[in-house]
Amino acid sequence: MRKKRKVPYRRLALLVVLSLAAAGTLAGQGAVPNKEQTDDAAALKRFTVRVDQYVKFRNTIEKQLPALKNKEELPEMIAAHQQALARKIREGRPNAKTGDIFSSDVREAFRHVIRGVFQDPHTAVAHTIFQQQKEAQTVPLKVNGVYPDAVAETTFPSMLLQKLPTLPDELAYRIRGRDLVLVDKKANLVVDLFHEALP
């Protein structure tokens, strides 16, 4: 007589649960973004607009200076160009203050991005940041101030750079302690600061 095969109800139930969970995840991927995501996207767009405005402004100023030819510069000429550009930018935005570009909505959106990267244990960002925080010297920074060249320029965690809005060539993000700094590279000038951006 043929033995009646037992139906593995438990396994079947588990399979159903897992399939539903997977379907839920997949559906979630194509889901309409929630309010936080929409707000963040809008804030990051505003950030990009402000950055573009700044770049347009500083490029207009730089055009008034003798051009820095890429192939023929002596250190004296590089330093003179850097200082003149920084001075002109300062004069052009005398009332610039912390948060002009990193406004509160932008800071919130950046926090979400940064938190996301820090939560991924594979990025090793946390380790890098920790190392750099140990090395960072206490140098007070301010908007329109010079970014100090005599200290090590902390390496920006590459995995975080993949997630933050990509900046035009004129600008770069820097990390100083827990602060995120927006720097004009040629002028070596602090454009804006986001205090305690990093956890």
Binding site: P75, I78, T128, E153, T154, T155, L161, K185
Partner: protein, 284 residues
């Protein structure tokens, strides 16, 4: 008995290594690509000058045509006088005899170094150049944003398949040095491209030691971060270390000819601390 055999074997190994180092000769082929490698050089202090002097001595026997710089070219302040003290003065004899330097930026470098003519960066913080059958990719590992990654992939795609692909930047993807350790985030981004497009050799600095790492996924990795700065005893030799040296400053000499790369690493006092030949596996 066993102890005696081991002792004899040990003496033989040391003698063989010594002989090999002394006997190491570059082939000096007519169409070869010859260059020197320095990293973390720009201290402006006596050991940097002495290492440069040793490099000058080495050039009499091995006339390399150019030098690559792995970053931290100007430590600390980067005022005009610093460019002289930390670069132009120690390497003046090389520049006077036509040796060109091609720099990568390190974490201690001002980004405006890219405009300094003797660094041959043409105003770019990442760039590429070709010598003979070797294509060099110089990356800015301080700031590996999506733009630079996309540029790098495009350059790799357009590089000749028969060319050697040599990549250099400041932060090492593999290292056994203790101070910083490997850059794992960078490794995650760059290594897949190295593998996909057949990068042959990678040079980095940042760690102030010399290390040759066992090939990883068929790629040779060298750390040469001790041409000016040094962290004595910082190398924790590991399973990936093929050769390491952390007791004095060093520089490297390279000759690439056909499918072979000859290398020699020399200390400030003129001792050969590593040498060998790499045979590449061409992916056509």
């Amino acid at each position: 008995m066993n102890r005696r055999i081991f002792l004899l074997l040990g003496i033989f190994t040391v003698l063989a290594a010594g002989l090999r180092a002394d006997e190491f000769k570059f082939p000096l082929k007519a169409d070869s690509v010859r260059f020197a490698v320095i990293g973390d050089s720009g201290t402006g202090e006596q050991p940097q000058y002495e290492t440069a002097q040793q490099m000058l001595k080495a050039r009499q026997a091995y006339p390399f045509e150019f030098a690559i710089m792995l970053g931290d070219n100007i430590y600390g302040s980067s005022k005009p006088a610093d460019y002289d003290k930390k670069f132009a003065v120690p390497y003046k004899p090389f520049m006077d005899s036509g040796v060109k330097f091609y720099a990568a930026l390190g974490n201690h470098d001002d980004t405006n170094e890219r405009f300094y003519k003797p660094f041959n960066m043409n105003g770019e913080s990442y760039y590429t150049f070709k010598k003979g059958n070797v294509r060099f990719f110089v990356l800015n590992s301080n700031y590996m944003d999506p733009k630079q990654l996309a540029w790098f992939e495009t350059q790799l795609q357009s590089a000749g398949k028969s060319d050697w692909k040599v990549c250099y930047f400041h932060h090492p993807l593999y290292t056994s040095a203790k101070f910083h350790g490997p850059s794992l985030g960078l490794r995650k981004l760059l290594e897949p491209l190295f593998i996909k497009y057949g990068v042959d050799v990678v040079f980095s600095g940042h760690e102030h030691v010399y290390e040759r790492v066992h090939p990883q996924n068929g790629i040779y990795y060298f750390t040469e971060g001790a041409s000016g700065s040094l962290r004595p005893g910082n190398l924790a030799r590991s399973a990936i270390t093929d050769k390491g040296f952390d007791t004095d400053r060093t520089f490297m000499l390279i000759e690439i000819t056909g499918d072979e790369m000859y290398f020699q690493t020399i200390s400030r006092t003129g001792d050969t601390v590593d040498n060998g030949v790499i045979h590449r596996n061409i992916r056509r």
